[in-house]
Symmetry: C2
Subunit: 376 residues, 2 copies
């Protein structure tokens, strides 16, 4: 059994107001191309298929198209679970029909202990869960944490282990630390919501979703976060996103990383305003890349966002990394103390991306004159 | 081919704040029982499966459970379309998988001209549509009304007619009047949104949804609104709700009505307050029935809703059918001009369904005393 492991698609997510559906469709096409090239027997999606419990119609139709394409047109068996961003109820609409073409979507704890068998492997599909749900499922009030719930669930899954099969867990939670580390360390790494990784040792492979960086569990050769297919925050700017190809034929299972190439990248630029605006200085960014700017300047700069956007249209963040030095000397009075009409014009352009029309300017002038008269 | 025709389930609808899921589940069970008893070959649901484009999670899981039960557990082929209350995109999530068990859910105009063939019958599944959608589909700007769009669609469907089959249209719109009646009459009955019934003559049967009364087209033996399974407004209080059983073996097709028995009925009571409150007077209503009250009194009655609810807990409407006669003689001053604490107590009980606790009454007294002091 050779499968592709991905997670955290977050279909419908916006990046500081910018729609990502185009980038998400591109990443999907790359994942599909890898699945085809690697001749995988199945595709695993470990939760957070949507970004929100109530996705938009566009998000619903985008994800539906992807799943139809992967499973019905390209005939890949699919193994998927709901994550904390998904509504289990909404995501599972129609799921009773999906298994007709080997699409297994599980959103219920009860079904996680019934393995899906494909080839040489038993897959256990465990959706994201809260402690109360496992407490209710086992009827055991002593279960107070995700870890305690997980201990019980793993035991129940082990009872279903077929000795001649490999055993793969698909799950969506925060795995970190060890059962045997002192509780304080555990609280530091993950708090009450963390699942100690040694609890997961019974499995030949653990396909995780939840954390967006594939490096989150880098010391565990057979427990992996796939990470998200796209960079969703500036803290991920340096990440290489991708998917894992897992081969269960070998013991231990073999795991290979396949990178994805961002259609529009998320880039952090740290520089001075003068250099950022200088057309002689070149940065390795494309026009549609998402840019987070770290300004090194220490002086006030009027209208800074609007001016930077003339060079970098999709700015998602603007921060100053050095303390601002505001003194009469550094303050360019002419630039800051402008007449109200110019200020209004700048503001309007920042908000609407259009300059005031002549008509609008006339109205503004009249209103200003009126206001000044009343002031006297 | 023998099928059951229903429509306008409106799962998730509330009646003046009262949840109807219990009543909707009961109606569903009756529909299923009829389908089983009548040994139908298919069940037709002609639109408005949900009440809202964005149904609640409870509504989603209720409808999903019904469709799974009918199609997967009881193996009835299902033919369904989206209505104007449904979001076509959300409703169709997963629909590509449904046909594996003969569940045909169509939400797209393009698919309406491709018949689903079951037994001796071609079914044309036409979802609710706006004129612009047909205009776009045919690339013909002259299509400005639902009727004009329908004329084109019927012609396209007729091209697909197999001469040895019966032809059934499943649709969700307002059918009324005739193409040949003068336009003014047509505007009076349905306006620009009405489809003249003679346009639909090519079909052996037209299974309609949209209007909630089965009598809406009573002069058309083979074009029927099934009506909703429940009464959704006081104007439907006298209706008998139910489904149609249609047999295509005969020409013309035979059509039989099967009534549903309301779990909790919607009843209009027209009477005086004194009689309504009199435990000696009996009305044929159950405790959980939904009651619309038409008060015949002409005098003011204090606290009327709260008092009526002690006899009829689920009042959905309260109207006066006679003009109120407010004079010093009819006004019971003692009843209306009560002390503030009693008024507060009544108000609190009306809003919360609980009387004030002793503690709350103490607080109210103190606040009142304080306010009266400040008044002086």
């Amino acid at each position: 059994m050779r499968f592709l492991h991905t997670a955290d698609w977050h279909i419908g997510k916006k990046l500081h107001g910018y729609d990502l559906l185009t980038e998400q469709r591109d990443a999907y096409e790359q994942i599909k191309a890898i699945a085809i090239a690697e001749k995988v027997d199945a595709v695993v999606i470990a939760g957070d298929l949507y970004d929100r419990a109530l996705p938009s119609e566009d998000a619903v139709s985008t994800l539906d198209t992807m799943l139809v394409d992967l499973n019905r047109h390209h005939h890949f068996p699919l193994l998927a679970i709901s994550g904390n961003h998904d509504s289990a109820v909404r995501l599972s609409q129609g799921s009773e029909w999906f298994s007709s073409t080997d699409f297994y979507l599980n959103t219920r704890i009860a079904d996680s202990v019934k393995p899906v068998v494909l080839g040489d492997t038993q897959f256990f599909l465990l959706p994201y869960f809260e402690p109360f749900a496992v407490r209710q499922y086992f009827g055991d009030d002593s279960i107070k944490t995700v870890a305690a719930g997980m201990e019980r669930l793993v035991a129940a899954m082990q009872e279903q282990f077929a000795p001649d099969k490999k055993h793969v867990l698909i799950a969506h939670f925060f795995a970190a630390g060890s059962q045997h580390s002192d509780s304080e360390t555990l609280v530091q790494v993950g708090g009450l919501n963390a699942v100690p990784v040694d609890l997961l040792n019974p499995f030949d492979y653990v396909a995780l979703g939840h954390l967006h960086r594939k490096e989150a569990l880098q010391n565990e050769p057979t427990m992996k976060y796939s990470g998200s297919p796209l960079k969703f925050s500036t803290s991920e700017a340096e990440d290489t996103k991708g998917v894992w190809i897992v081969d269960t034929d070998q013991t231990p299972v073999s795991v290979t990383f396949k990178p994805l190439k961002p259609l529009n990248d998320l880039v952090v630029l740290t520089d001075s305003f003068a250099r950022l605006m200088d057309s002689e200085v070149s940065y390795s960014v494309k026009a549609d890349d998402f840019i987070a700017i770290e300004l090194t300047d220490t002086t006030p700069i009027a209208n800074v966002m609007q001016r930077l956007k003339t060079r970098f249209p999709r700015i998602i963040e603007l921060q100053r990394v050095n303390q601002l030095d505001v003194t009469p000397e550094t303050l360019n009075i002419e630039e800051v103390q402008r007449d109200p009409l110019t200020l209004l014009d700048d503001f309007f352009e920042t908000v609407t991306d259009h300059a005031l029309t002549t008509q609008q300017e006339d109205w503004a002038k009249q209103a200003l004159q009126q206001a000044m008269k009343e002031d006297k």
